[in-house]
Amino acid sequence: MLHLVNKSPFERNTLDACLKRAAPGSAILLYEDGIYAALSGTSVADKVAKATNAFDIYVLGPDLSARGFEPAAVIEGVQTVDYDGFVDLTVEKRGVQSWL
């Protein structure tokens, strides 16, 4: 399954809700305000870095740059993808769940 998280972990609990219920081996895409969870140096960065052991975590590049961040600002182990990559992730995984 591909899990989508689109809210900041500092505003909403959807990142945690997702991390608690995603099966190991799932992919997680952080997009829209969810990109803030992908940044190194925040209070959630360790949690997200650790989560990369269980999940393939991605962040949507256009949403990063819209908010003033480069891929270099992202936690090691989180991969930056563009919209083509987003589409490819939905092909690769047999279902998509949005955490709203």
């Binding site: 399954m1 608690k20 995603a22 047999r94 709203l100």
Partner: protein
């Protein structure tokens, strides 16, 4: 499990999951997703409904929103069974965090451990989140 997503042909049965995470009344999602579930019941799919996090509050009995001139749709959950929607699950951890027990619920529903909710979610073809 069968990957029905690749099936072709006249009749496909998919595993649908409606995920409810929001409390009732503060937003419209609980009401409108219930309407969606009732319509989905007519399509002979394998429908599951999960209540997680604040979504468990949707099934709390004794809701009286009439003082706010809002609709009490909690009794509509009782119709789900008549529509053939029986796979209704609440997550145990979500209930416990919120001090809810099965005695507080407007309908009988299966309570799943989080680890079983993880497997349930992962098995779905279509997930509709409100």
């Amino acid at each position: 499990m069968t990957d029905a997503t690749e099936a072709s042909g006249a009749s496909v049965t998919k595993r649908f999951l409606y995920v409810n995470r929001k409390a009732p009344h503060g937003t419209v999602y609980a009401l409108e997703v219930l309407e969606m579930i009732l319509i989905a019941a007519m399509f002979e799919q394998d429908v599951h409904v999960a209540f997680l996090d604040d979504g468990v509050f949707q099934l709390r009995k004794g809701q009286t929103p009439s003082a706010l001139e809002m609709k009490d749709f909690s009794k509509t959950y009782r119709a789900l069974e008549d529509y053939g929607i029986e796979k209704i699950y609440l997550e145990r951890e979500s209930m416990e965090e919120r001090g809810l027990t099965t005695d507080d619920l407007v309908i009988p529903a299966a309570v799943l451990e989080r680890k079983d909710m993880i497997s349930l979610i992962d098995s779905m073809d279509v997930v509709l989140s409100a």
